[in-house]
Symmetry: C2
Subunit: 545 residues, 2 copies
């Protein structure tokens, strides 16, 4: 923490300043848009960008992460608050801040308990499915804002502005970069130009709206904004607190997952070390900060963090500069913030989440592992059919289900000796000699509760198809750990084989595994021997049993 400050060099400053400015300009329309997704007044999105950026800079683990409002977390916030208060009411605002406080507390506690390994509960295909499902839900919800009415109805001036903004943003996303580069702009600068398109579109739409008085023609705008910085306001019933516990846990979990995946991408680019426990603490502090400024749950955003990095951010100083600029924007006259037309903001949301509809993971998984691809599609379908909260649970269950399913079919090879050598290989892949009185099996998996029964069943099967076996040798080259469940499984196998007059032997047990086994009764109870190598077992076990 703050180690970067001690190592700060002057050469880093220019990059941090330019990144700070670019991210602030990106954050204003994005924060406002994601506040809308959360069912909150747009200005709350800016409140939720200042203290969180600052606190993450002080406590977080990634050098270039940008923390603030994010589409999926905003959707989860709206889902959590919908049954408790009406959007736009004072209670809704208070509950949003409370939710940020509670998920911040959860994150902080997890960080202090050092349980950052929780980030590994989601597989990537499942995360991708979750993101795709959420993106579609968010885009669908914005259609009526973009068109100024529920389909098939629409409000012509609103729809015209919404669709024009959408087209402008799509053009910027798909062609602006190439045009700028062709005009001689450096690739990085061109990239950053593209990222500022939402700001420009919103400014242009506001100018149009004011110039032609479109508000009078019925185009909705963001509405009155209180000037100055907000304060904390938490005073609702304990029933409210209780009903926010589960959403706070789910939001805290996803906040962490989303932020970690952004931070990991950047850490790999910078070859920097990431600490998931500090990440939890940074996010916890950021969310508590968001609550203190009347905001809502926030997280690290891959799109903003990538821009921060690309715009030259070297250290968290960039985020501190962003926070300072946003605070300045809020204490300056904020009347203009009331005039932003909602259809244009909706268009920025739709285009932003289109960027999350990334299908390359699906494509890779489909070719590489049909099971993972199915889990991806099932998670996306689950989010669409049952909502984003159920989606988190579905995601965890599918990730773990895939894992347990794979574990339930461990790879076990029957080994034979390559004639005249001391090498033992899978008899299905190599011509190798075997003995009818001895069965040699190599278990290609760590032994744990998820595969212990499958392994025992598979061994029974092999013994049934090798009925003359008097001695069974388990070759443990690929076994790096044996948990307590598997220890019981091995003991029961030993008992069962003993009853049937078959010896059980182990070979090539790894050092750490053997050290652990010595803490149990297993070696003493073993109805056989532990050999250093498969060859020693082959030679050492007499065929005259």
């Amino acid at each position: 923490m703050l180690e970067w400050l001690r190592r700060y060099r002057r050469a880093m400053l220019a990059g941090d300043i330019s990144a700070g400015i670019v991210v602030a300009m990106m954050m204003i329309p994005q924060g406002m848009a994601y506040a809308l997704v959360a069912g909150l007044p747009p200005v709350v999105g800016i409140y939720a960008s200042i203290l969180p950026s600052l606190l993450y800079a002080l406590f977080g683990s990634s050098m270039t992460q940008s923390v603030g409002p994010m589409a999926i977390i905003s959707l989860m916030t709206a889902t959590a608050l919908a049954p408790l208060a009406s959007s736009g009411t004072g209670l809704y605002l208070v509950l949003a801040a409370q939710l940020a406080l509670m998920s911040g507390a959860v994150l902080l506690a997890c960080g202090l308990l050092r349980i950052g390994f929780l980030a590994n509960f989601f597989s990537r295909p499942v995360m991708s499915g979750f993101t795709i499902g959420s993106a579609i839900l968010i885009a669908l919800a914005q259609v009526k804002v973009l068109l100024g009415g529920e389909l098939p109805r629409f409000h012509l001036p609103s729809a015209a502005m919404g669709i024009a903004s959408l087209l402008a943003l799509l053009f910027a996303r798909n062609y602006l970069g190439a045009l700028l580069r062709k005009a001689g702009v450096r690739a990085t600068a061109a990239d950053i130009g593209v990222r500022l398109a939402p700001m420009l579109v919103v400014v242009a739409a506001t100018a149009l709206s004011v110039g032609f008085d479109l508000q009078a023609a019925g185009v909705a705008t963001t509405g009155a904004v209180p000037a100055g910085l907000p304060g904390l306001n938490l005073a609702t019933s304990s029933a409210h607190w209780r009903s926010l516990v589960q959403p706070a846990l789910l939001i805290g979990f996803m906040t962490f997952l989303i932020s970690m995946s952004a931070a990991q991408t950047l850490a790999l680019k910078r070859q920097e070390k990431l600490n998931s426990n500090y990440e939890l603490i940074g996010l916890g502090a950021a969310n508590i900060g968001s609550a203190l400024s009347g905001g809502f749950p926030v997280t690290g955003s891959i799109s903003r963090s990538a821009v921060n990095f690309a715009a030259g951010a070297n250290t968290p100083l960039a985020s501190i500069i962003t926070a300072a600029l946003l605070a300045t924007a809020l204490v300056a006259p904020t009347g203009w913030l009331a005039l932003l037309p909602l259809p244009a903001l909706a268009a920025t949301i739709v285009v932003a989440v289109l960027g999350m509809l990334e299908l390359s993971t699906l494509r890779t998984a489909w070719r590489y592992d049909r099971g993972d691809a199915t889990a991806l599609l099932a998670t996306a379908g689950g989010v669409l059919a049952m909502g984003v909260d159920a989606g988190v649970i579905i995601g965890v269950v599918l990730s773990m289900g895939t894992l347990i399913w794979r574990a339930s079919r461990p790879h076990i090879a029957v080994l034979g000796r390559i004639a005249g050598t001391e090498h033992f290989r899978n008899i299905e892949r190599y011509p190798a000699e075997t003995r009818t009185d001895m069965l040699m099996l190599r278990i290609d998996a760590n032994l744990f509760f998820g595969n212990v029964e499958a392994v025992n069943q598979r061994i029974e099967d092999e013994l049934r198809s090798h009925p003359a076996t008097r001695n069974l040798v388990l070759v443990m080259t690929a076994v790096s750990s044996i948990d307590t469940s598997a220890l019981f499984g091995l003991s029961e196998l030993n008992q069962s084989l003993k009853q049937h007059g078959i010896g059980l032997h182990l070979a090539e047990v790894k050092g750490p595994v053997m050290d652990r086994l010595k803490d149990s009764d297993f070696p003493a109870a073993l109805n056989g021997e532990i050999f250093l190598s498969a060859a020693m077992a082959w030679d050492g076990i007499s065929s005259a049993a």
Copy 2:
């Protein structure tokens, strides 16, 4: 299914008949006691033993499993129904049957979908903790029945009968076997004699109660029992159905886990093959059968199944005989069933669940793996503090948490060459030579979403402490699978190393792993080579990079 009937031999009949009789005699008091635990009239426990035994015999996978009421499932039933109806009302009875129907349907569906691998979601220590916690909850709830009042109050005649029954049962459990064997009874027969003690105690208590008219003195009895066999009665509101969905899922899950662990123990003793999908179908049919006869959720019981096996059961015919005997007992005059004193039944429950308070798993885990021991204690504590339903969730989360936590610390060894040989070993355990321009790492785990980030971070760490590295070789001897998440992780590692001018090579990739990798873009994008062996990588990678 029914394959055993085709292979039936006359010699099997004697064993099946004696087991059928013994289990029926054990099941009458046990079924009644567990119905009490579920908050139901005791006779319902006998209803829930007939069709389930029969249907499991026809559809189940284990030859000697005895299916019927079981303590933990009864506790879960009571927990599920408590908020919906008062124990003793007609609605309560109807809802109990509905719960059996719904969990039966869940089990059947899971069996038909062939997702029996779900049994592996609980580790053994967690299952042991769950059992211990449930046993304590069940025993505590029986104390007031045993004493005829809530402590510190008690009803003297009830307490006298309860405590006398308890002492008799404890004596039988601890000493009767040895006494019988000393008197010349065969060990198996002595064992079975011990198991019939509950029947004898209940009969003696009933005789005493009737003889001395203890009912008039205030000793509670089981109460009026409708004669004849019951029928199905399911006609409640859809709100009731909906509120039973979650309990039905949890009960279905535990039904399966408990039954599988009983069946596995027996299958290992008999060296028979168990099919978890048939087990699901058998349990599904049994629970639907229980519902059809006005019963409640049932499962395979390890204690009864062990007796069935010990008493000579060779095939499911034993269970069919048990079912026939129980049905006969019900159509015979059943007036006597109304007279059983509850304190004696409570004593049988307490002694039965004492048998579930088995601490050897805790003892082994404490010595062998402190993490597993902690998970056991946390699950037991969770059941006691938050109830049996929360306990199931806690159990799954702790099992999976332990797994993910272990995965997040994969074993990775830096390899060196044993001078003058082609053998490569962990430099921490063997004196081996290394090259400053080349880092050789052996990853001792299958690569999947749970460890992909940990592996990448560890590799980055090693590269930081070996700054002169120009080529990184990953030795894949212990890697039997790479999931989609890990494929992405490897691709990102490759990208990152390429950016920093470091080559990434693989060695000793297993056949099946290589076959799968060929379905991806990874081999083509690899900034390095794939070597057959570590030695070939050592020789093939030039130090003049």
